[in-house]
C-alpha cells in the first residue's frame, strides 16, 4: 500500500487524534449523570429470580411426607460428589433416606441433582447467604436440608403415581392407575 503523506493528510491525522480524544473525554464526563449500576449488597438486597440456583433443600409432598426415596440418582449425578445418603425403609414399605448429607463447601450449585431427581425432592432455592466461620458447619445433614413444604411443584406426590403399595394405598389405587393384572385368573 502506498504510504499517504502530504501536509493536508498529516493535518487530518492530527485533527483526528485531537478530536477522538475530546470525544472520549466528553463520553466519560457524560457519565456524571448516569446512575451507578452497583447494588450495595448488605443494605440493598439483590433481585434473585425464582429459578436462581442457591441453597439446596429437600421438600415434602402435599401430604407432609418426605419426597426423597433415597434412589441415589442425585449423588451419582453430582459432579463434585458432595451428596452422600443411605436408603432405608419404614414398616409400611415406604423408602426414605436414613441420612442425607450435602457438603456445601464442595457444592458448585450446578443443579444437576435437581434435574436427576425423579421425585422433585431435591431442589435449589434463591438463597446464597450461607457463609460460615467454621468449615465443618458447611456440611448440612438431613435435618438442616428438609423444609416443611412442597417447593416448586406443590401438587406432585410421587407415591400417588408410583404403583407401589405403601400404607393406606394398595396397588392400582393411585392416580391414572389400572388394577394390576391377576396372572392366576383365566379371565381375559
Amino acid at each position: 500500500m502506498k504510504k499517504k503523506t502530504g501536509l493536508f493528510y498529516q493535518m487530518y491525522i492530527w485533527f483526528d487524534y485531537i478530536y477522538s480524544n475530546l470525544v472520549t473525554l466528553w463520553g466519560v464526563l457524560s457519565h456524571t449523570f448516569t446512575r451507578a449500576d452497583t447494588v450495595q449488597y448488605p443494605d440493598q438486597q439483590p433481585h434473585l429470580h425464582p429459578r436462581f440456583r442457591g441453597r439446596i433443600v429437600l421438600t415434602k409432598d402435599p401430604d407432609g411426607e418426605e419426597r426423597c426415596v433415597a434412589c441415589n440418582l442425585c449423588a451419582s449425578a453430582c459432579p463434585t460428589d458432595c451428596i452422600s445418603l443411605q436408603k432405608t425403609e419404614d414398616e409400611s414399605g415406604r423408602w426414605y433416606a436414613d441420612y442425607f448429607r450435602i457438603n456445601f463447601s464442595r457444592c458448585v450449585y450446578c443443579g444437576l441433582c435437581e434435574e436427576a431427581c425423579p421425585t422433585y425432592a431435591i431442589q435449589l432455592t434463591p438463597d446464597f447467604e450461607m457463609a460460615e466461620y467454621v468449615r465443618q458447619n458447611m456440611v448440612y445433614e438431613k435435618e438442616h436440608l428438609l423444609i416443611n413444604g412442597p417447593g416448586k411443584h406443590p401438587d406432585y406426590s410421587f407415591y400417588a403415581h408410583s404403583g407401589k403399595a405403601v400404607s393406606g394405598r394398595q396397588k392400582g389405587e393411585g392416580v391414572n392407575e389400572a388394577q394390576p393384572v391377576d396372572v392366576r385368573s383365566l379371565m381375559p
Binding site: 480524544n21 472520549t24 473525554l25 466519560v28 464526563l29 457519565h31 456524571t32 448516569t34 451507578a36 452497583t38
Partner: protein
C-alpha cells in the same frame, strides 16, 4: 499580627493544606472515577467515605516497612523523601491570595521549574536502589519521559513570562487583571497541561508506574510509609500543577468580588484537578517511544512557534 506570626501562619497553614488536601485527593479521585465508571467508589468509612483516608493511613502505618536486603539502602530511603520534598517545596512560591503565600521570589517560576525537575531524581533513585527489573524499566521510562517533556514545559511558560514581564508569580497574577492569559496563550496552557500531567506521572503519561505492565514501576519494592510518600507526592504534584495553571493562565485569585480571593483560587484549582482526573479516567497510555516522538516532534515545535509568535506580537 506581627510579620513573623503572619509568615509562620502562612508556612504552617499551606503545609497542612497541601498535605491534607493531597491526602483527601486520593478519596476525591476514587469517588469521582467511580461516578464516571457508573459505580460508587469508597462510601463506607464515615460520611460519604470521607474518612477512607484515615483508614488507609492506619493501614499503611501498621504495615511492615520493608527495606529489601538487596537494595542500596541509603538511596532507597532517600528517594521517597525527595519525591515528597520537592513538590512541597515548590508550593512555597505559589501565591494563593493577597497575603497568602510563603515567599514571592523574583525567580519564582524558575524555582518551580527547578524543583519539579528534581522530582525525577526521586523516581530514578527509587528505581535504581530497588534492584528490581520492573523498577528499572520504570526508571528508564521516567528518564526517557523526562528528557521529552522538560524541554517544552519550560518553553511553554515563556510566552506568559513575556506577557507579564516577570518571573515573579505574584506579578504574573496581578498582570492578568485585564484578561486571563489562557486566551492569548491558549497553546501554551495546553502544552503546559500536558507537561504537568507528565511531570506528576499521571495517566496517560504514567509510564514509570504503568501498573498494568510493570506492577508498580519504580515503587514496586516500596511499602508502608515510603510508598505513601510516593503516593501522596504524586497527589501533591497534581495539586501543584493545577495551582500553577491557575496562577499562570487562569488569573490566580482574581474573580468577582462577592467571594474572597482564596475561594476563587481554590475553586479554579479544584476544577483543574477534576479535569486531570477526567483525563485519567478517559485516555489510554501511549508507548514511551510514542510519547518521546510526540514530545519532540509535535509539542516542542508547537511551543517554539507559540514563543516566536508571542514575541513577534509583543514587539510589533
Amino acid at each position: 499580627m506581627t510579620p513573623v506570626m503572619a509568615n509562620l501562619l502562612n508556612i504552617v497553614g499551606i503545609l497542612v493544606f497541601v498535605v491534607f488536601g493531597a491526602a483527601m485527593l486520593t478519596w476525591v479521585e476514587r469517588r469521582v472515577l467511580g461516578i464516571w465508571q457508573d459505580r460508587h467508589g469508597p462510601n463506607r468509612v464515615g460520611p460519604f467515605g470521607t474518612l477512607q483516608i484515615v483508614a488507609d493511613m492506619i493501614k499503611l502505618l501498621v504495615k511492615e516497612d520493608w527495606v529489601p536486603d538487596f537494595s542500596d539502602k541509603f538511596i532507597f530511603v532517600i528517594a521517597p523523601t525527595i519525591a515528597m520534598f520537592v513538590v512541597v517545596a515548590a508550593f512555597a512560591v505559589i501565591p494563593m491570595a493577597p497575603g497568602v503565600g510563603i515567599v514571592d521570589l523574583n525567580v519564582g517560576l524558575l524555582f518551580f521549574l527547578a524543583m519539579t525537575s528534581l522530582g525525577v531524581y526521586a523516581v530514578m533513585f527509587g528505581a535504581y536502589a530497588s534492584d528490581n527489573k520492573y523498577a528499572l524499566i520504570g526508571g528508564i521510562r521516567a528518564a526517557a519521559q523526562m528528557v521529552s517533556y522538560e524541554v517544552f514545559m519550560g518553553l511553554s511558560l515563556m510566552g506568559v513570562v513575556m506577557l507579564a514581564g516577570s518571573f515573579d508569580l505574584r506579578q504574573v497574577v496581578l498582570s492578568q487583571q485585564d484578561g486571563w492569559y489562557i486566551f492569548p496563550q491558549f497553546i501554551g496552557a495546553f502544552i503546559f497541561m500536558m507537561a504537568g500531567i507528565a511531570e506528576s506521572h499521571r495517566t496517560p503519561f504514567d509510564l514509570p508506574e504503568a501498573e498494568h505492565e510493570l506492577t508498580a514501576g519504580f515503587h514496586t519494592e516500596y511499602s508502608g510509609m515510603k510508598f505513601a510518600m510516593f503516593f501522596i507526592g504524586e497527589y501533591v504534584s497534581v495539586l501543584l500543577t493545577s495551582a500553577m495553571i491557575t496562577v499562570l493562565f487562569l488569573g490566580g485569585w482574581l474573580g468577582p468580588d462577592f467571594a474572597p480571593p482564596l475561594f476563587w483560587f481554590l475553586l479554579k484549582t479544584l476544577i483543574l484537578v477534576l479535569f486531570m482526573i477526567l483525563i485519567r479516567g478517559s485516555l489510554p497510555r501511549p508507548r514511551y517511544d510514542q510519547l518521546m516522538s510526540f514530545g519532540w516532534k509535535c509539542m516542542l515545535p508547537l511551543a517554539l512557534a507559540n514563543l516566536v509568535v508571542t514575541a513577534a506580537l509583543i514587539l510589533r
